[in-house]
Amino acid sequence: MALVLSEEQQMLKSSAKEFFNGNAPVSALRRLRDEKNADGYDKRVWEEMVQMGWSGLVFPEEYGGLQFGYTGLGQIMYESGKTLTASPLMSTVVLAGTVINEFGSSEQKQKYISDICEGKRLFAVAFEEKNIHSPHIANTKVVDNKLSGSKKFVLDGHIADVFLVTASSDSGLGVYVVDAKGAGVHVERHIMMDSRNASTVTFDNASVLDMIGLPGDGKTIIDRSLDIARICLSAEMLGSMEEAFSRTVAYLKERKQFGVSIGSFQSLQHRAAHMYCEIELCKSLVIKSLQAIDQNADNLAHLASMTKAKVGQITELVSNEAIQMYGGIGMTDDEEIGFFLKRARVSQQTLGDYNYHLDKYAVLNNY
């Protein structure tokens, strides 16, 4: 398949760009941060995204979705990365929606996916327990339909109506549905460095309402769902990286020292040109991987780790170079470039950093 967007995907990308620039630019994130917004995202912006069908973009029409594919969703993620827009897109649609759509029964899809498409309920997936990404570990236990344990780094946990929780039973790892407002569920919101939110969620004999797949299917469910989510997150990171880079190049042309643009200095030119090359590689990985989701490719795990690893490394490079090239002004809170650095570190560790994925890629290739 040609590594270019179709006309329809291109159109979606353009409208996403227009929408985020108009409704949720970086200044909007700053405002949410400064007013200590209780939700951590703009409800009005999310409602409009739902109305445009973006919450149901990848889901089947029979459950209210548009069945437009992940390559399309990747363009929305990409554009939202450029503006650093905070929304439940990642937690509710990409993570929870994918788990249910890929592994849920048709009744479950009818029940949950249609709510996601209509924006009726927000979801969060709780799968981390250790201090670094370890998606297969669950000391959280399910006994007699009661779930107990503690989860870390639950993205958007504080606004979720429903939790999908990984937990162990005698049959192994499973994915369970728990009411976020139910008895025995305690949510502690943490505002992260990128002004977005992740929660620590403790479950104390919380009632299990439902289960995705069978007990013991958890590893399969999480592996595939997280691979899809890693690719979508990489698309968002690519958007952020490209935006940070183009702002940096613009600054190199504008900023004058010693009577000339600092962009005329070869030491900076070569670093900028090198970043350009690395970003080109990231673009190719992201489009290849997004298309692989839609084509149901059997090497998705390989592609997801390759993409998350490389995009993570280059996001780190570009965000660091951006601050250095902006110089003192880049260190000030007034300037927006710092927001890109902060988001970069959170997205880097979300769903596995490059250390995790370089290792995983080697394991997948049997060495």
């Binding site: 040609a2 590594l3 270019v4 190049v249 190199l252 042309k253 000339v260 643009s261 962009g263 005329s264 200095f265 070869q266 900076l268 030119q269 070569h270 900028a272 040109a273 090198h274 350009y276 090359c277 080109e280 590689l281 990231c282 673009k283 190719s284 990985l285 489009i287 290849k288 390759m306 690893a309 490389k310 370089l358 290792d359 890629y361 080697a362 394991v363 290739n365 049997n366 060495y367």
Partner: protein
Amino acid sequence: MSTATQVNIDAFRSETREWLEANCPQSMRSPVKTFKDYFWGGRNPTFHSEDQKLWFERMRDKGWTVPRWNKEYGGAGLSKSEYKVLKEEMAKIGARSPLFSFGIHMLGPALLGFGSEEQKLQYLPEIARGEMWWCQGYSEPGAGSDLAGLQTSAEDKGDHYLVNGQKVWTSYADYADKIFCLVRTDKNAPKHTGISFLLIDMKSEGVSTRPIKLISGSSPFCETFFDNVKVPKENLVGVENEGWNIAKYLLTHERSMIGNVAKMDKTLDEYAIESIGIEDSVLADPVNRIKTAQWLIDEAAFNFTLERALDEAKAGSPPGAKSSFFKYYGTEMNKRRYELMMSTGGFDNLVWGEEYEDGKTARDFCRTKANSIEGGTSEVQLNIISKHILGLPKK
């Protein structure tokens, strides 16, 4: 693509497959490795085996040494999609290129783009038939990255030019029959506007060569000296003093060739596993394990990017300065690969031996260091990307 075109292409594919199956000798179906695996053509061609001769002659007679060139120039006049099919079918059976030639890849495009019809008819068919071995005379001792600073002069003497000067890094000048050269025809003009593109017979009086031994132990390059060499006026390609345009065109072309990272017999992880071994189901050296994974990810990403560039070109966006990106990244990656091979290969890879083949990895490793120098250094490519893609200002 219309159905009719698709039907034609499918027919061409099966014809090509059959023809290759019947005509490509078994021994010509493996990657070229040593000097003897290459056939370069020339006035007095040297074939290293009967199969090599047979394969060359069969391909020559089909016009498939230069499949895209028109028939009157010795080619087969294949369309782009037919050419793609031919390449794919050759790759499928591992068929070697029947003729290695700077004439095909360097001078050919220059003549097709800038030569007179007379010149095309004179030179292209003999290149296609492998009857002339051309070498390239660009760099000089004082003109490397600053190529336009070249000093070899061609003085207008009425019916001929009188050429004096020295070229360096002329590939196989000691074997070549002719050389295409950049020479200075106007000493007073700004450096880019006084250069011309000239064709010189290596048998002319006053031309001499001296091989340069490289750190790899081999000598593919020479120094070439011109001492009062008389060159006929009609050997000028294009317009006098406008040779820099041809040079730029060819350098872009050359870069896109060097930038392709060659496929090897073994992938880097296979190589490392064979050499270091697996312990507890992971590569026994944890640091090289991660470096290997990193390199393989970059290689895949680079290949996807080549693929994407082709797809984008088809969709109508021009490649432009992208060739500098491919040249820079591809050559740096090739160096990284050999650095890793030296490391994972351990003591065995340090052997040098008498013949090139005895210490192939060590020698190839040395050779890769030139990848980011020849055809424009990495630094020059970064300059081009800064200026033409990022639009960063000159001082």
